[in-house]
C-alpha cells in the first residue's frame, strides 16, 4: 500500500477504533479478572465511593499479597452495573459490595452468589446483629452477604431552637418527651408555636419511612401477597399525614439542605449515616445539633453487604479477605475514615466510636445509635417492595404540596400500589 494521505487517514482511523475497543476491554479486564474468576488473575473487589474505607481496602492489598487484590470504585448506578455484569457472565468481580436496598432483589437470584454459610459464616454471625444478617438470607437459609454497615435511625434536633421554644434539650429528656408519635406531635406543635419559623418535620416521606419500618408487615408479605392496605399500614399513613393536618410539616423536600442550614428543619429523623448529610448541608450549625431516640422504636435504613459471586473460583480466599476487611478493628477504622457505621456491635466499644462528636456539641452519639442498632426490629422486605411503595410516597407529596385530601390520597395510593403489585407478579 502506497502511503497516501487517504490511506494514512483510513489506517489511523481504524487503529484508533481498534485501540478504543482494546482499551475498553483492558479496563474491565483489570477490574474484573477472567471470565471464570480465577485466583491466578487476581481478586477484583467492587464497591462504590464511600462504600468501604479506601485505606482499609489498600491495607487489604498488602495484607494478602498473593491474592492480587484490585479494588475498583464503581461510579453511577452500582446495582445496574453489577446486574449487567452478572447477566453477561464475564468479568465478574471475585468480591463485590451490594447495597442494602438492592439486597431484596439480589436475594431472588441467590444462585449468582456464594452461600457464605458453606465457608463458616454462621460462627461469625452468632456474635452479630441477627436482623442485619437476616436481610441477606434467603428463605431456605443461604447467607449471601456479610454486613458492612447498618443504618439505625434516631432523631437529630437543634438544641438551640428547642431551648428557644422552652422545651427540654437534653437527649434523654427529649426522647422521653417524644416516646410515642402522639407525644412527638404535641412536642412538635409547641416547638412550631413558639418558634414559627421552625418545624419538627422536614417532609412527610421522612416520617413515613420510619413508621413503616416499625410495623411488622411492609407492602408485600413473605408469601408474596399484597399487604399495602392493611390496618397497620393505614395507621402508619394516618400517623404520617398528621404532620400535615397539624401544620408542623416544613415541606422542604426540594430544598432540604437550605432548610437544614437555616433552621427551618429543627428536627430530622434519619439513619446514623444521615449525620454526615447534615454536617455537609449545614456546617455553620456545628455544635447546635443533638441526637436522641426517635419515637416508639428505632428502625433500620440502609447498610450494605460484601458478597462473593458464585463465579469466583477461590471462594475460601475471598472469604478470608472479606473477614479481614470487615474485622471489628477495620470496621471501627472505616467509621473514622468514611463515617461507615459498623455492623459489628463489638466495634461500637472501640475508641473510634466512643469519642464525643463536636458537631453534636461533644455528645457521644454511639450512646444513642448503639442501643438503637440492637433494638431494630427484623422486617421482611420483598424484591418488589420499592416499586409497590412508590405510590404512597407520590401521594404523600400530593398531600404536602397540592393540599390533596389525605383520605383520597390513601385510596389512590392503595389502588395504584395494587396495580403495580400485580404487574410485579404479586398476588
Amino acid at each position: 500500500m502506497n502511503l497516501s494521505r487517504r490511506n494514512l487517514l483510513l489506517g489511523s482511523g481504524l487503529a484508533a477504533l481498534g485501540a478504543g475497543t482494546l482499551s475498553a476491554c483492558s479496563t474491565s479486564g483489570t477490574s474484573g479478572g477472567s471470565a471464570g474468576g480465577g485466583s491466578e488473575s487476581g481478586t477484583a473487589l467492587w464497591y462504590w465511593a464511600g462504600g468501604l474505607s479506601d485505606d482499609v481496602v489498600a491495607a487489604a492489598a498488602t495484607q494478602f499479597p498473593d491474592a492480587g487484590i484490585t479494588p475498583s470504585v464503581i461510579g453511577g448506578d452500582f446495582k445496574q452495573k453489577l446486574q449487567t455484569t452478572l447477566a453477561g457472565g464475564s468479568f465478574i468481580p471475585q468480591i463485590t459490595g451490594v447495597k442494602g436496598e438492592d439486597m431484596p432483589f439480589f436475594r431472588t437470584v441467590a444462585d449468582k452468589f456464594t452461600d457464605l454459610n458453606t465457608l463458616g459464616a454462621q460462627e461469625i454471625a452468632a456474635d452479630q446483629l441477627a436482623w442485619k444478617w437476616a436481610e441477606a438470607q434467603t428463605q431456605d437459609g443461604q447467607q449471601l452477604g456479610f454486613p458492612i454497615d447498618i443504618g439505625p435511625t434516631a432523631m437529630f434536633y437543634r438544641e438551640d431552637i428547642l431551648a428557644q421554644a422552652g422545651l427540654p434539650t437534653d437527649p434523654a429528656a427529649v426522647a422521653a418527651a417524644t416516646s410515642t408519635w402522639d407525644d412527638f406531635y404535641v412536642f412538635g406543635q409547641e416547638l412550631h408555636a413558639k418558634v414559627p419559623g421552625s418545624f419538627p418535620v422536614g417532609q412527610l416521606s421522612t416520617v413515613f419511612t420510619i413508621v413503616i419500618g416499625q410495623i411488622p408487615q411492609r407492602f408485600v408479605s413473605e408469601d408474596n401477597t399484597f399487604t399495602g392496605d392493611s390496618a397497620e399500614m393505614k395507621q402508619a399513613w394516618d400517623t404520617t399525614v398528621k404532620a400535615q393536618t397539624l401544620g408542623v410539616n416544613a415541606n422542604a423536600s426540594q430544598d432540604k439542605d437550605a432548610s437544614l442550614a437555616s433552621g427551618v428543619i429543627a428536627v430530622e429523623m434519619g439513619a446514623a449515616w444521615a449525620a454526615l448529610d447534615i454536617k455537609n448541608a449545614a456546617p455553620d450549625t456545628s455544635g447546635n445539633w443533638r441526637v436522641a431516640n426517635n419515637p416508639v422504636k428505632p428502625t433500620n435504613f440502609g447498610g450494605s453487604f460484601l458478597t462473593i459471586p458464585s463465579a469466583t473460583e477461590d471462594k475460601e480466599g475471598a472469604f478470608e479477605i472479606i473477614k479481614w476487611i470487615l474485622s471489628t478493628q477495620n470496621q471501627a477504622q472505616a467509621y473514622t475514615d468514611a463515617s461507615i457505621f459498623p455492623a459489628d456491635p463489638a466495634a461500637w466499644d472501640l475508641p473510634a466510636l466512643t469519642g464525643g462528636d463536636e458537631f453534636f456539641g461533644g455528645q457521644k452519639t454511639i450512646d444513642v445509635f448503639g442501643p438503637a442498632g440492637l433494638e431494630v426490629p427484623q422486617q421482611y422486605v420483598a424484591a418488589s417492595d420499592a416499586a409497590v411503595s412508590a405510590p404512597y410516597f407520590n401521594e404523600l407529596t400530593n398531600v404536602e404540596t397540592a393540599g390533596k385530601d389525605p383520605e383520597q390520597a390513601w385510596n389512590d395510593a392503595v389502588a395504584a400500589a395494587r396495580d403495580i403489585a400485580k404487574r410485579q407478579g404479586v398476588q
Binding site: 446486574q83 436496598e101 449468582k112 430544598d255 420499592a386 416499586a387 404540596t401 397540592a402 404487574r423
Partner: protein, 320 residues
C-alpha cells in the same frame, strides 16, 4: 438461420467480457470505501439495531435482568394501555414539549433574523448562541434547580424584591413544566437559531432587493420571503425538536433526582415532571421490570412516530 446465428454470436460477444472479468474486480474495486463506511454500520448494528430488536422481543416477556426470561404474551401492552401513570407521563411530555418547542422556534427565528441583519461580530454572536447546546445538561439542570428553589432561589428573591409573591416553582403541576420548558428552551434556542441563520444565508439577495424595489419593508420581507423560503429548514427543526422533546429525560431526572433508596425517579411533586422516557427508565432500571420497560419504549416510539407524521403533514400541506 444465419440471422439467428449472428444474433446468438452478438449476445455472446456482448455478454462475455463484463461478466467474467469485470464483475469481481468491480465488487472489490470499492473495498476502501466499504471499509471506510463500515464502522458506522457495524456499530449501528451492534448498538442500534440489536437493542431495537431485542427490546421488541423483550416487550413480550417478563425479565428482571438476571432470572430466566418468561413469555408474557401481550400482557405488558395490556398493562401499558391501562396504566394511569403512563398516561400521566404522556400528558406531561406533550405539555412540556409544547411549552418549550413553540416559543423556542419562534424565538430562534427572530434571533436568526437579527443575526442576519447585524454587520459586525457575527462569529462572536454565533459562538455565544451555540454555547448552551454544548454545555453539560446535568450542570444546567443543577443550576436551574438552585435558581428556581422554592425558598431561597434567585428567581423568588427577585420576585419578592419587586413586591410580587414568591412562587413554589418546584412544587406545582404547571410551574414544574414551565421550569423544565425554560431549561430546554435556554439550551436549544441558539442551536435552532444557527440553523435558521444558515438557511437565511442561502436565500438569494436579489429576492430581497426586488422586494425592496416593490416597496416592502423589513417585516413584510420577513413574512413574505424569509419564512416561506425557510420552510424546509423549519420542517427539519420542528421534527428534530419533536423527537428530542418527546424523549426528554435528563432534565427531570436531575431536577427531581431524590434519594435513590426511596421512590427514585418519580418525576417530582405530583409526578408533574415524569416524562415518558423517565418512566421507562424507572420501570426498567430501578424496579427491574425490563419487559414492561421495553413495552413503554415501544409506546414512546409509536407516539413519536405519530407526532413526526402530523408535523410533516402540516408543514408539507402548507407548502402547496
Amino acid at each position: 438461420m444465419s440471422s439467428a446465428g449472428v444474433d446468438r454470436g452478438f449476445r455472446r460477444v456482448s455478454a462475455k467480457p463484463p461478466v467474467r472479468a469485470g464483475a469481481p474486480r468491480g465488487r472489490l474495486r470499492f473495498w476502501p470505501q466499504y471499509v471506510a463506511v463500515s464502522p458506522f454500520f457495524l456499530l449501528f448494528a451492534l448498538f442500534g439495531l440489536f437493542p431495537v430488536g431485542f427490546s421488541a422481543w423483550l416487550a413480550f416477556h417478563r425479565w428482571d435482568g438476571l432470572s430466566p426470561v418468561t413469555f408474557a404474551g401481550l400482557e405488558q401492552f395490556r398493562f401499558l394501555a391501562a396504566d394511569p401513570t403512563f398516561r400521566k407521563a404522556v400528558v406531561n411530555t406533550i405539555v412540556i414539549w409544547v411549552l418549550s418547542t413553540v416559543p423556542m422556534l419562534v424565538m430562534s427565528l427572530a434571533i436568526a433574523a437579527l443575526l442576519n441583519s447585524v454587520r459586525r461580530f457575527k462569529t462572536f454572536y454565533q459562538v455565544v448562541l451555540f454555547l448552551p447546546s454544548v454545555t453539560s445538561i446535568v450542570a444546567i439542570a443543577i443550576f436551574f434547580k438552585a435558581i428556581f428553589n422554592n425558598r431561597v432561589g434567585l428567581v423568588n428573591q427577585v420576585l419578592e424584591g419587586i413586591g410580587l409573591p414568591a412562587v413554589e416553582w418546584l412544587n406545582g403541576w404547571w410551574t414544574i413544566k414551565i421550569v423544565l420548558a425554560l431549561l430546554m428552551t435556554w439550551q436549544w434556542v441558539g442551536y435552532n437559531a444557527i440553523i435558521y441563520f444558515a438557511g437565511m444565508q442561502a436565500i438569494p439577495g436579489e429576492v430581497y432587493e426586488a422586494a425592496k424595489l416593490d416597496g416592502a419593508g423589513p417585516l413584510r420581507a420577513f413574512w413574505s420571503i424569509t419564512v416561506p423560503m425557510l420552510r424546509p429548514v423549519i420542517l427539519f427543526t420542528v421534527i428534530i425538536s419533536t423527537i428530542t422533546g418527546l424523549q426528554t429525560f435528563t432534565e427531570p431526572q436531575v431536577l427531581f433526582g431524590t434519594n435513590a433508596a426511596v421512590n427514585p425517579n418519580s418525576g417530582g411533586p405530583g409526578q408533574a415532571g415524569l416524562t415518558m422516557v423517565l418512566y421507562f427508565y424507572q420501570q426498567a432500571f430501578n424496579y427491574n421490570n425490563y419487559g414492561y420497560g421495553a413495552a413503554i419504549a415501544y409506546g414512546v416510539l409509536a407516539i413519536v412516530g405519530v407526532f413526526a407524521l402530523v408535523n410533516w403533514r402540516l408543514v408539507a400541506r402548507s407548502e402547496k
